[in-house]
């Protein structure tokens, strides 16, 4: 499999706190790589750097074999990299389709489009298509997403990212607030995105979910990559040990 996105020797400091010190990470097309680690291990920082919302102090990002500078979310969006944030980043007063297209509206052709008029019919049509392609059936396109359940909002956020992610999708604890059935649905959705050939990076504290869905697992501890393992070659005790430092795996890369 070809590596789509790779982070090499990435470091990031916030004042005196060293969030990342020389972390390495890579993910290939059509695979799910889980990123795990204790609180403060640097998972979210690494995701934010790879998603372009923050810049690393040191290290480089390699996209499709070429070094890239991701200095803004739109820079990563252009490369087909999308992120589902922990807080979902949905505008709760807007409907699902408007949320899916927020920041990427389809404009009316010609002068009307230049005046700022949007092609609402096209967005509704393409939005429905995007949701349907992931096996999601939305019947109420006009209600605000804030009035929907946590699971539904989560699904809309995942569908939005999946609809735009041509290459890589980051999911920051997408199941943290969900019930059993909804979690199963989101994991199912992740598999479908992976089957489309997209590289999926999954952050979670839930070891069973990580073991269930991952092709590979990368463990971060204190800002550094301490292990990258296949689920079949490890067990939960070993993973927890690698996260906390109780077990030295020495299986780095």
């Amino acid at each position: 499999m070809s590596i789509v996105l790779e982070a090499r020797g990435v470091s990031k400091r916030y004042g005196h706190v060293e969030a990342l010190c020389g972390a390495n990470f890579n993910v290939a097309a059509g695979e799910v790589v889980s990123l795990i680690g204790d609180n403060g291990a640097g998972k979210s920082t690494l995701i934010r750097i790879m998603a372009g919302t923050e810049r690393p102090d040191e290290g480089e990002l390699i996209f499709d074999g070429q070094p890239v500078e991701l200095d803004s979310p739109s820079a990563s969006h252009k490369l087909g990299i999308e992120t589902v944030y922990q807080d979902l980043a949905l505008a709760s007063h807007l409907d699902p389709v408007r949320n899916i297209f927020l920041g990427r509206e389809i404009m009316r052709p010609g002068i009307l489009g230049r005046l700022g008029f949007m092609d609402n019919d096209a967005m509704k049509r393409d939005g429905r298509k995007a949701l349907a392609s992931l096996g999601a059936t939305v019947r109420n396109f006009s209600g605000p997403v804030g009035a929907m359940s946590g699971g539904q909002r989560q699904a809309i956020a995942v569908c939005r990212a999946a609809a735009w992610a041509k290459k890589v999708i980051f999911l920051d604890e997408p199941t943290a607030a969900l019930g059993v059935v909804q979690t199963a649905n989101v994991l199912d959705l992740i598999r479908r995105v992976r089957d489309l050939g997209v590289a999926v990076v999954f952050i979670s504290h839930s070891m069973p979910h990580v073991m269930e869905i991952s092709d590979r697992i990368t463990v971060l501890r204190r800002g550094a990559t301490v292990a990258t393992i296949k689920p079949a070659e490890t067990n939960m005790q070993q993973l927890v040990g690698a996260m906390t430092g109780a077990v030295e795996t020495g299986a780095e890369q």
């Binding site: 990031k12 706190v17 969030a19 609180n39 403060g40 291990a41 640097g42 998972k43 979210s44 920082t45 934010r48 919302t53 979310p73 739109s74 969006h77 944030y85 807080d87 979902l88 980043a89 949905l90 505008a91 709760s92 007063h93 807007l94 699902p96 927020l102 920041g103 990427r104 509206e105 404009m107 700022g116 008029f117 949007m118 949701l131 349907a132 992931l134 096996g135 999601a136 059936t137 939305v138 019947r139 109420n140 006009s142 209600g143 605000p144 804030g146 009035a147 929907m148 359940s149 699971g151 539904q152 699904a155 569908c159 059935v181 909804q182 199963a184 649905n185 989101v186 199912d188 959705l189």
Partner: protein
């Protein structure tokens, strides 16, 4: 599709209640309750005083009195939908009028040339104050309440410095004769036509364009909008500039109508406009609102005042009633936002505790951006 159905359709969002009739859906429309109140007031006063209240000239007077506030209300609606506030509009109106008046006097003449120059100067002054508000709010992260309270004092102060505190009463005749007192077909005041055009333009901008969508998005979730690529700062600056621009236009209208700069007469304009916007169903917490509601919300106090005068009731009662309506409007808004957060198809019997909790959630979220802690 099949997989989705098999896994219990992840996104099977409940449809609107199937029995929801067109009327029920209309009743959920913003500003609808207040429209009912306005109709009740109009019908009530008409029945009580058919000759004096329901006359064409009296109703026209109400509309004329609301016209300038409605122009200000367009800008204010956008600002409040973002969760902000603009206290400076009354002073910016005065400042724009004063500078325009000075420039027109200096240019000399009573014709359209000088009038157009004055209009451009007033709109430019208003927009400039709006840009200042927007830049300071967006880039320096100072709360809009404080920034616009500051520019309220600054713009009024400058206006008083320029004039020495004395109203200028030199306005080109052409402005007064057309915009101030002109009537189309001898029936419809030009002032009202100008105001109506701007209100309709505001509605189109808010509900049909990307600018309007981003206004709601920024008010709903500024951080989320930023992450999906919306330039939140630029949008905020544009919105405060729009509010300043409408204040500048209102400055011209006021100049033409009152034939003076009304330096001391605009101290409560900002609060009157904010009250109208809020009564009209726009949420002070952002994300919800409409220009249509604002216009209705501005008519309620105007109709009350006029009706009380016509009926011989002390007009001071108007303030009492408007105050109560304002509080009720915010109460309804609170309930609506709580329902939005609670979710679910039908939300009857919200517990007090639940309401408070949900409200608190919204307040904290719309307050300041939570710092992202690295994990």
């Amino acid at each position: 599709m099949t997989a989705g159905a098999a896994t219990g359709s992840l996104l099977a969002v409940d449809d609107e209640e199937p029995g929801a009739s067109a009327l029920q859906r209309l009743s959920r429309l913003q500003g609808f309750q207040i429209l009912v109140l306005l109709v009740v007031l109009l019908v009530g006063f008409s029945l009580l005083e058919p000759a004096a209240f329901a006359s064409v000239s009296n109703l026209r007077a109400i509309v004329v009195n609301t016209a300038i506030l409605a122009v200000l209300g367009v800008g204010m609606t956008f600002v409040i939908i973002t969760g902000g506030i603009d206290l400076s509009i009354g002073s910016v109106l005065v400042f724009s009028g004063v500078v325009a008046s000075k420039v027109m006097t200096a240019a000399g003449g009573q014709g359209w040339g000088v009038a157009i120059l004055g209009i451009l100067v007033a709109v430019g002054c208003g927009t400039a104050w709006g840009v200042i508000n927007g830049v300071v709010i967006a880039k320096w992260n100072i709360p809009p309440l404080i920034v616009t309270l500051g520019t309220l004092g600054m713009s009024l102060g400058f206006a008083q410095i320029i004039t020495g505190g004395v109203d200028i009463r030199e306005v080109p005749e052409v402005l007064v004769d057309t915009i101030g007192y002109g009537q189309i077909g001898g029936e419809i005041p030009v002032l009202v036509v100008v105001s109506a055009i701007l209100v309709v333009a505001g509605m189109v901008l808010l509900h049909r364009t990307r600018f309007g969508l981003y206004t709601y998005a920024v008010g709903s979730n500024a951080e989320g909008s930023r992450r999906v690529g919306v330039n939140v700062n630029r949008q905020l600056i544009k919105i405060y500039a729009l509010s300043g621009c409408t204040a500048g236009i209102a400055g011209v209208l006021s100049l033409a109508y009152f034939q003076a700069t009304t330096i001391g007469g605009q101290t409560t304009t900002n609060l009157n406009v904010i009250a109208g916007v809020v009564i009209g169903g726009t949420s002070l917490f952002g994300g919800i609102g409409s220009v249509f509601g604002t216009v209705i919300g501005l008519f309620v106090p105007a109709v009350l005042q006029n009706g009380f005068v016509v009926m011989g009731i002390q007009p001071f009662w108007q303030q009492v009633v408007v105050g109560a309506v304002l509080i009720a409007a915010v109460g309804i808004d609170q309930h609506r936002r709580t329902a939005l957060v609670k979710g679910g198809p039908k939300r009857k019997g919200l517990s007090g505790a639940g309401t408070r909790k949900a409200t608190k959630m919204l307040v904290t979220r719309s307050g300041s951006k939570a710092p992202e802690t690295p994990t």
